[in-house]
């Protein structure tokens, strides 16, 4: 028997906002889950880094020092390697919260400093590639669907098949050879012309920072250097997105609500942009998330061929030298990037499809 006069649960201002906006509630819930998962990422990187065979002391001390047990002990103590694993993890987390990812044994710089230039370099490359892929891939997919089984569709099918099957490293080498050595239209490797000073650091993306600072020669140099490696990376994702968009659009074109929209006398353009594309984007967003993952792993090869000072190159160097703090930093960043992409995909679902917001 509950008393009738029991105070009803009061809804605070923020609570009321959330209750009234399913989208806001949905976003909050998804973000909370992502933060929880980020903790999981720290644990996984930590554990993985500690189970790999190989002695970081051996890898980071010279031949002579290895022979001296006192030096080895000193190294282990200095890096906390003599502590039990859980204690090492707690120390690691504590440092992490202060933005301390340790010091790279290769560059002798804080890992955070290294990442602050490597991560934006890769994000600039991958971001440009995914943005271009989305625009081109979705457009080609829509055209292929509308021209189903005609010549255009057949041609696009061949193009997208080529895109997904050509190995990225081969394409990167070929592009570099043709456009740089043979034709001389592409600028050389790296992010900027030799000797050019990077723009003042705001985002770390050279194109955006240069534009913000109004340094247009730097902007054009950065953009020019971006074109070839980004285009190489788009080949696979454009192929993938074209194929998936085509089938998604064809699927939606057969739906009753598209016929109903035509029966309303709406112009074809309106039906396509508002009724067809909206629904077709749901599967495309999923694929775009996966494509971005594929694209990130593609950067490892592309960065090494174009001497792009990004995360891929940094990861490769630290892994081969067993530079543990650096490897852990890279693992953390990659984990967080994947989480963010997943979160973005989830959020886009919620924005596109109201049915997803309720749960």
């Amino acid at each position: 028997m509950s008393p009738r006069w029991a105070p009803s649960r009061r809804v605070s201002g923020g609570g009321r906002l959330l209750a009234r906006h399913p989208l806001a509630r949905f976003l909050l819930r998804r973000t909370a889950v992502a933060v929880l998962l980020a903790f999981g990422v720290t644990l996984v990187t930590f554990v993985l880094t500690n189970v790999v065979p190989g002695d970081p002391a051996a890898a980071n001390l010279g031949q002579r020092a290895i022979g001296d047990p006192a030096v080895v002990d000193q190294f282990r103590k200095q890096h906390g390697l003599d502590q039990p694993l859980p204690a090492q993890y707690v120390t690691y987390l504590g440092h992490l919260f202060q933005g301390d990812l340790g010091e790279s044994q290769q560059t002798h710089q804080p890992v955070l400093t290294d990442l602050a230039t490597a991560v934006p370099a890769t994000l600039e490359l991958a971001g440009a590639a995914i943005a271009v892929s989305l625009v081109i891939g979705v457009a080609l997919g829509v055209v292929a669907a509308l021209r189903r089984d005609r010549l255009t569709d057949q041609l696009l099918r061949v193009v997208s098949l080529l895109g997904v099957s050509v190995p990225t490293f081969w394409l990167a080498l070929l592009a570099f050879y043709v456009f740089f050595y043979q034709l001389g239209v592409a600028p050389g490797s790296g992010r900027l012309a030799p000797g050019m000073a990077p723009p003042p650091y705001v985002t770390g993306l050279h194109t955006i920072d240069a534009a913000l600072a109004g340094q247009w020669p730097v902007f054009w140099s950065a953009a020019g250097h971006l074109v070839l490696p980004a285009l190489v990376l788009t080949a696979y994702t454009v192929g993938l997105l074209t194929r998936f968009t085509r089938s998604a659009v064809l699927d939606v074109l057969g739906q009753d609500y598209v016929r109903a929209a035509r029966a309303k006398g709406l112009p074809g353009r309106t039906v396509l942009l508002q009724y067809v594309l909206r629904a077709a984007l749901v599967p495309v967003v999923t694929i775009a998330g996966l494509a971005f993952g594929a694209l990130l792993s593609g950067t490892v090869l592309v960065e090494s061929i174009f001497a792009w000072p990004g995360l891929g190159a940094y990861a490769y160097r630290s892994a081969t030298t067993l530079d543990l703090p650096a490897v852990m930093g890279v693992g953390l960043v990659v984990g967080i990037v994947y989480l963010t992409v997943n979160l973005a995909v989830d959020v886009l679902y919620g924005v596109i499809d109201p049915r997803v917001r309720v749960q």
Partner: protein, 274 residues
């Protein structure tokens, strides 16, 4: 010639008249004839029922009026709306009539409404296109329409999405969308087949009321002769792409001339062969 006949018999003026409609759809080898010369007439304020077994061509007849036949369809005959032949009308002009002079309500409102667009969006986009109404005027009209089809709290409904309504409510919304631009002709293709039995009667009563109040000419496609006898003023029975019998409801349903109609009637539950 046909027009003079109708005026001579003193019936209400026909808004839509289908004469000798033939339809060929592409098949594996050449074309396949789906409709073999359909004749139908619709009058304002009257519900004309179109019955017949599955695959007899009822839906194709309805789609032909809207010019929404499958790709590669070839048609013959005439479909005249106020004297204009819809079959030979250029696509742009046909588009301007679609949803404005002739509208359609589909069988299943859970698939014929876009799941990701709000009711308000779907109820006003064609209004704004055809009538060139601004956002505010279109909204006011939408609220009025939802009231007409008895949706409670129309203002809130405009902000909602189809999945937030029951099947019966969704079909009422689909009817409101079809009626938004004050069409002369409404084609309702099995509008209650996908609905719960308990809400079917309500939707049918609504159709009848709207037909009477707005002077709509309704083509009610159904294979349910029970629905037909409750609602239609006149009836046509189709079989294999042909109209085998046409006439006032009383005549066709109580004293059918064609044996096929008789077999259909005998198949109705609760009815025994006399």
């Amino acid at each position: 010639m046909t027009t003079t006949e109708t005026t001579a018999t003193g019936k209400a003026v026909e808004v839509l008249r289908i004469d000798g409609l033939t339809l060929d759809l592409p098949a594996e080898h050449g074309a396949h004839r789906i409709l073999h010369g359909i004749d139908l007439a619709l009058r304002p304020g009257r519900i004309h029922g179109l019955a017949g077994e599955s695959g007899s061509g009822k839906t194709m007849t309805g789609l032909a009026v809207l010019g929404l036949l499958p790709d590669g369809a070839r048609t013959g005959g005439r479909i005249r709306l106020d004297g204009t032949d819809l079959l030979t009308l250029p696509p742009r002009q046909l588009g301007a009539l679609r949803g404005r002079a002739v509208s359609m309500v589909f069988q299943d409102p859970s698939t014929s409404l876009h799941p990701m667009l709000s009711i308000g969006h779907q109820l006003t986009d064609h209004l704004r296109h055809h009538r060139k109404l601004d956002r505010k005027a279109a909204r006011a009209r939408a609220v009025e329409l939802l009231g007409q089809v008895r949706i409670p709290n129309p203002a809130a409904a405009l902000r909602s999405y189809p999945h937030q309504f029951s099947g019966g409510m969704r079909q009422r919304i689909a009817i409101a969308i079809a009626l938004a631009c004050d069409p002369q002709v409404l084609i309702a293709d099995e509008p209650t087949t996908a609905l719960d039995v308990t809400v079917q009667a309500g939707v049918l009563r609504l159709l009848r009321r709207l037909c009477d109040e707005l002077g709509l000419a309704v083509l009610l496609i159904t294979h349910d002769l029970g629905v037909m006898s409750a609602l239609a003023d006149s009836v046509s029975v189709m079989r294999r792409g042909r109209v085998v019998e046409t006439g006032p409801r009383g005549q066709v349903l109580t004293a059918p001339r064609h044996e096929y109609t008789r077999t259909l009637l005998d198949a109705l539950p609760g009815r025994n062969t006399p």
